[in-house]
């Protein structure tokens, strides 16, 4: 398959801000201790150079195709069409199966690209990263093993328990795992710990697992990850002769939403939906739905974006069954796209996602990551509401659910 080349059609300004012209609100930027400024400048300059380096881009693409297996299929799901009311009522539903990548999620694409960039452009010897569901850690550690770089992973103590399988695989790939016991013991303090570690070791390169962090990370991660969307767009054209009517993806930090939807930003007749975790319900306050709950603008981990926080600016912990969505902020470009209304947001509760997990296993024979179940639930609801037989819907099935098995079996038994 000839993969369409990357095109920049939503650039931030030179300081890394996306500005909403109507409200004047800025998203992104680079808010970080002076100690890290030189590191970030190095990444920024390197990234610009990399995007002009045809050999680097071609070599990276070759690795993504042959090692990550990036050309995963888009499969039509007649079972989901039936559940939503049947093709004659709602049209066709397609699943982009990035769970079939090497290491079983969408994460290896940006992770491998970032590590490949660190090795070949920045000549780094060590990678520092953080993780929630450990999908990122597993992917980064795998890339480091293949590319012979040392790897340090920061993980919140609670997440380390929840996703022990991925954590164990990360360890087998040779990563040095540092369990973080700070504040909420989840992704957010792990990310802060990784940044602090990078501050102590400027020769290393920091790899962000999402489209978050200080400039240029949100730009770089979405640019690397968007190859998923470029392939998906071409596959949809091959399958149905045009772009889909809707694109649905789950949104924690926003990487898999960016990855699949970025190439559709300029196609006005494609509706893009980002799905957040409503946890125990938005009203309960125990959720990870930054955009849906209308969280205010704050400055979190180096960037200006919507943040779950209290009236004094202390970051509130997010709460969700899905470690991969357990984050109190959302990437700045996604917040900007939400502010313009280009990406519409919905939220799914933990309970709805857990039920969807069981339904997917029983009715479709697919074991999706719990994260993907938030989007599948919301997509089915939205598709039923749209009730348009002429439409074609694309859902990003962004990960496989092996590491959720123990908790989901317990859920199943507890609810029988």
């Amino acid at each position: 398959m000839k993969i369409p080349p990357f095109k920049e059609h939503n650039p931030p300004d030179n300081l890394g801000y996306w500005t909403n012209k109507k409200t004047g609100e800025k998203y992104g930027g680079q808010y970080i201790s002076p100690l890290l400024i030189p590191n970030l400048k190095k990444v920024e300059t390197g990234f610009k150079k990399a995007m002009k380096n045809e050999k680097f881009l071609a070599d990276l693409e070759e690795q993504l195709v042959n090692h990550i297996g990036i050309v995963t299929p888009i499969l039509r799901s007649k079972e989901l069409e039936e559940i939503a009311g049947g093709e004659k009522k709602i049209g066709k539903i397609f699943l982009k199966r990035t769970d079939l990548h090497h290491d079983s999620s969408h994460k290896p694409v940006s992770a491998f690209s970032s590590v490949f960039f660190a090795k070949h452009i920045l000549k780094a010897k060590k990678i520092i990263t953080e993780t929630g569901a450990s999908m990122n850690a597993r992917a980064v550690a795998s890339a480091c093993a293949k590319l012979n770089l040392s790897c340090e992973v920061h993980i919140g103590a609670l997440d380390a328990e929840k996703v022990s399988l991925n954590k164990d695989i990360t360890e087998l790939y040779g990563a040095d795992i540092k369990v973080c016991h700070d504040s909420t013991k989840s992704l957010l303090p792990a990310m802060a710990a990784a940044l602090r570690s990078w501050q102590s070791d400027p020769t290393a390169m920091y790899v962000v697992g999402s489209v978050c962090g200080p400039h240029p990370y949100p730009l770089m991660v979405r640019t690397f990850a968007s190859i998923i969307g470029r392939i998906a767009k071409k596959q949809m054209r091959d399958l149905i002769g045009k772009s889909p009517s809707t694109v649905f993806a789950v949104c924690g930090g926003g990487s898999n939403l960016s990855a699949i939807s970025y190439p559709f930003y300029n196609e006005k007749n494609v509706d893009i939906f980002g799905i957040e975790s409503a946890g125990k319900g938005i009203a309960s306050g125990a959720h990870a739905a930054t955009i849906t709950s209308k969280a205010p603008i704050g400055i979190l981990l180096g960037a200006r974006s919507n943040v779950l926080m209290d009236a004094d600016g202390q970051v509130d912990p997010s709460e969700t069954e899905a470690s991969g969505l357990d984050f109190s902020g959302t990437g700045p470009e996604i917040c900007y796209m939400a502010s313009t209304g280009r990406i519409k947001f919905r939220a799914t509760t933990d309970k709805e996602a857990q039920e969807t997990f069981l339904m997917m296993c029983k009715k479709t024979g697919i074991l999706p990551a719990i994260e993907a179940c938030y989007v599948i639930h919301a997509a089915l609801k939205e598709i039923k509401k749209r009730k348009n037989p002429k439409e074609n819907h694309l859902i990003h099935l962004c990960g496989s659910g092996e590491s959720n098995v123990a908790r989901m079996l317990k859920y199943k038994k507890d609810n029988e």
Binding site: L15, K26, G29, Q30, Y31, I32, S33, P34, L35, L36, I37, P38, N39, D182, S183, L188, P189, A192, L195, R196, Q199, S200, D201, P202, P296, I297, G298, I299, L300, L301, G302, V307, M309, A311, D312, G313, Q314, V315
Partner: protein, 272 residues
């Protein structure tokens, strides 16, 4: 230059000393103890640097992070830190400068103009905002607001910064500039005097601004060595450790203040 700092530097110069800066996280472990600690430390410190806690800071070591957690648990909020400074200032007689140290999110949420106004009202002499990048629009607003109100904007300069970044920082820096002695988080390594010498030289090429040095200063010997190279010597994590130690041993209020004060009194002698 801010008038309190002017007087402090003039006095230090006449006595041929440098200035000792003591850092504590505001309201660690609680309001009253923190107040007593600051009152006690004012006897030995020319400058008191008071941390405004942020639970997601990206530059502090676990020592300061734990202090932040203790302070937040005891109800620390930005407006309470201003109240604390006011209360302390009311009870001390020494000519001590007060500096707040925090992260931009707190100031952004509080409102930049309101923060500056309350700094002024509480008698704050300067502010350190760790993650306020020179190029950020908020940084300009803070710089203008502080300058207009005769307060110092104290910028951090690290061993990894180049001369261009130093130049940019010095443009916005007033009263003094803060050299971070090593690449790392607060209190995680020993003070690096070679970095201090190199950075002082780079700064001196561009400006006569007084130089403060922090990160890794934890003994009398460290203070003596740094004092020979700098106008201000900042000691933070080791004081915070003492607060934790005393607090864990059941001390509070004046007893805790005396315990911490004893330590600070000993190491602050190094500026002489």
């Amino acid at each position: 230059m801010n008038k309190t700092f002017q007087r402090i530097f003039a006095k230090a110069k006449s006595e041929n000393k440098s200035c000792f800066v003591g850092f504590v996280t505001g309201m660690d472990p609680d309001y009253e103890s923190s107040k007593q600690i600051l009152i006690e430390l004012s006897k030995y410190c020319s400058v008191l640097e008071i941390g405004v806690s942020f639970n997601t800071s990206t530059s502090d070591s676990s020592i300061i992070m734990s202090a932040n957690d203790r302070a937040i648990k005891s109800g620390a909020k930005t407006e309470k830190i201003f109240q604390l400074i006011k209360d302390v200032k009311r009870e001390i007689t020494s000519d001590t400068a007060f500096v707040t140290m925090g992260y931009l999110n707190q100031i952004h949420v509080y409102g930049i103009d309101r923060y500056i106004e309350d700094c002024k009202k509480s008698g704050v002499d300067g502010c350190i905002v760790v993650d306020s990048n020179n190029e950020a629009p908020e940084d300009d607003q803070i710089f203008k607001g502080l300058t207009k109100n005769d307060m110092a904007f104290i910028k951090l300069i690290a061993p990894t910064n180049d001369s261009n970044y130093i130049k940019q920082s010095l443009k916005k820096c007033s009263s003094w500039v803060y050299i971070v002695s090593y690449a790392g988080v607060t209190g995680s390594k020993d003070v690096n005097l070679n970095n201090v010498k190199k950075l002082s030289k780079m700064i001196r090429k561009q400006s006569k601004i007084p130089i403060g040095v922090g990160f890794g200063i934890k003994s009398l010997d460290d203070v003596k060595k740094v004092s020979k190279l700098a106008d201000l010597v900042v000691c933070g994590s080791s004081i915070v450790e003492k607060i934790k130690e005393g607090s864990q041993n059941g001390l509070s209020n004046k007893n805790l203040a005396q315990f911490v004060g004893e330590y600070v009194k000993q190491i602050a002698k190094g500026i002489e």
